[in-house]
């Protein structure tokens, strides 16, 4: 079962940062791991991942280095300390949201 675009949109940054917290990754690798770990629930439109990564890079939440792999240039992303802090805040925000939502749903 897929989730709606709106729900996914609000949690994309958290998903990307949590993946990068596990290990540095390049874009394609990140998409595949996310798809695998979520059993296909979080299947992003692949092209839109890169603007998100670039935005995170501009904000200083991730850094990237270029290397050569399989005869091509490859950009690998690393989470920064600022990114870890952002992830922590987003995670706490999500937990609060989850608890509050469960409370409401439970009451109905």
């Amino acid at each position: 079962m897929k989730v709606s675009k709106e729900m996914l949109k609000g949690s994309t940054v958290m998903l990307v940062l949590s993946m990068l917290e596990q290990q540095p990754m390049y874009g394609y690798q990140l998409i595949k791991r996310l798809d695998a770990q979520s059993n296909g629930v979080f299947a992003l439109k692949e092209g839109t991942l890169y603007p998100i990564l670039h935005a995170l890079e501009n904000e200083g939440h991730v850094e990237a280095i270029w290397s050569e792999a399989e005869g091509r240039a490859r950009k690998t992303y690393y989470i920064t300390d600022k990114g870890k802090k952002q992830l922590q805040e987003k995670t706490e925000e999500w937990k609060l949201f989850q608890v509050s939502l469960n409370r409401v749903i439970g009451e109905t």
């Binding site: 998409i31 439109k45 092209g47 603007p51 501009n58 270029w66």
Partner: protein
């Protein structure tokens, strides 16, 4: 062969379309490389599963999404940023500066009314705005290889000052060009530092791994300006210059050893030159007077001006004395403009000025660390520190923390030269900020400049 070329061009065609939709032209190459890596990975995976190449490419493109959506999202991220808050702070300071000069002309004892300070200020404010706009529009990277040109220009300007300039108040030289007077000391301080920053940036990009020998050779280009300032008795300029020079070495991650050797050499040469001058005795007396002030031994003559200015601050009150009562300052140098402003318009305006100044400085420092491109980040950081130095000296002088030194607050003086230099420097910072998200972090030749905050 034609079928193979047609199949290969499907991915290229997709990436071409995305690339064409991206407005930040200098980001296109890196975005293209990233998308191609992704697409070819996807194609290889699909072909490993037994799919034909054409189907694999079509699948890869379908998974990527719409060309327009991708390009649009990239354009939201990589767009020109306008520093509205920073421009607002500059506007506030320029407005206050104009009010202050008006107050100087109309409220201070003496014949300032006939000197048309306000008219001159408005003319140079106009020039300053033009310079600001031009500096904001010129790509800051254009300055990268202009270091030696600027160094020679600064040296030439200094030499011209010595040959044809007029000495003012026993220190510093001014070159008169029609109605304009060029303050050689002020102009050359910034020009030398800017030039040395550019020279060292270029050098560090070419030689990322500096040997200690190279590290010691580079600072020697910084020694000549020390001699020029000391010889022309511009002691404030030499202090500012030395601080700026050490900062440049620090920004470029010179080793602590090289930093200390460079700084000690520059200071030693400066002190030796200073002691050889006839005027050094006067400077020693001034330093002694300041020292006595710090120790609480108040002497009438040397500290009189300081106490008088502090009294004027206290007398101002929250709303000031207006423009009728005159602030009794014997000669309101540009470093006393803040006193005139506060006396005329009150502590509330003085606080506003300080908030705008400190807010502007904070914005400069924070924004410099947001710049990914190393040369831009280093240059903006250097200018941020350079702007901060006179603020510390000016306010420090007014509260007695440092000797009275003639430092002027950025944009708050009636000197034409300082207005032009500050507007130029802040224009460069504006350009760096505007381009920060439209330039890739790494450029072919300049990605190896080592700048504090990000490492290599």
């Amino acid at each position: 062969m034609d079928r193979e070329e047609n199949k290969r061009s499907l991915l290229d065609s997709f990436v071409d379309q995305v690339e064409a939709g991206i407005h930040a032209q200098e980001m296109r190459a890196s975005i293209r490389a990233e998308l191609e890596d992704h697409l070819y990975n996807q194609v290889e995976e699909q072909m490993d599963k037994g799919m034909s190449r054409s189907k694999a490419e079509a699948t890869a493109i379908r998974h990527m999404g719409s060309v327009n959506t991708i390009a649009e999202k990239f354009n939201i991220v990589h767009r020109t940023r306008f520093p509205w808050l920073f421009w607002g702070m500059i506007a506030i300071l320029l407005l206050v500066s104009t009010l202050g000069i008006w107050a100087v002309q109309h409220t201070v004892n003496g014949n300032y009314a006939v000197r048309s300070l306000l008219d001159r200020h408005l003319v140079f404010l106009g020039f300053g705005l033009v310079i600001f706009i031009i500096a904001s529009l010129i790509d800051y990277r254009w300055w990268r290889n202009k270091g030696w040109l600027l160094y020679v220009t600064a040296t030439g300007l200094f030499g011209s000052g010595q040959l044809i300039g007029d000495e003012v108040n026993g220190t510093g030289y001014w070159i008169a060009i029609g109605a304009i007077a060029l303050d050689v000391g002020f102009l050359t301080t910034f020009l030398f530092l800017f030039a040395i920053f550019l020279i060292i940036s270029q050098y560090r990009a070419e030689y990322p791994e500096l040997s200690i020998r190279r590290e010691l050779v580079l600072p020697f280009i910084g020694i000549i300006p020390v001699l020029t300032f000391v010889i022309s008795s511009q002691y404030y300029a030499v202090v500012v210059y030395l601080l700026g020079f050490i900062l440049i070495l620090f920004i470029h991650s010179f080793s602590l050893k090289a930093l200390m050797i460079g700084a000690i050499t520059a200071i030693t040469i400066g002190v030796l030159a200073f002691l050889s001058l006839p005027s050094y005795q006067i400077q020693i007396e001034r330093l002694e007077a300041w020292g006595n002030h710090l120790l609480g031994h108040h002497t009438r003559d040397a500290s009189a001006l300081l106490y008088h200015l502090q009294d004027l601050f206290v007398q101002a009150g929250w709303w000031g004395k207006g423009w009728v009562e005159r602030a009794d300052i014997p000669y309101p140098h540009s470093d006393h403009i803040l006193v005139v402003i506060v006396y005329a318009f009150g502590w509330i305006v003085g606080l506003g000025v300080l908030v705008a100044l400190l807010g502007g400085l904070t914005w400069l420092f924070r924004s410099s660390y947001q710049v990914k491109q190393r040369f831009g980040r280093g240059l903006m950081l250097f200018i941020s520190c350079y702007v901060t130095i006179p603020v510390i000296f000016n306010i420090g002088g007014l509260i007695g923390a440092v000797p009275m030194n003639g430092a002027t607050l950025p944009l708050l003086s009636y000197g034409a030269n300082s207005m032009l230099i500050w507007m130029f420097a802040l224009g460069i910072c504006t350009n760096i900020y505007m381009r920060k998200d439209t330039l890739p972090q790494h450029e072919a030749r300049w990605d190896r400049t080592v700048v504090i905050g990000k490492g290599r």
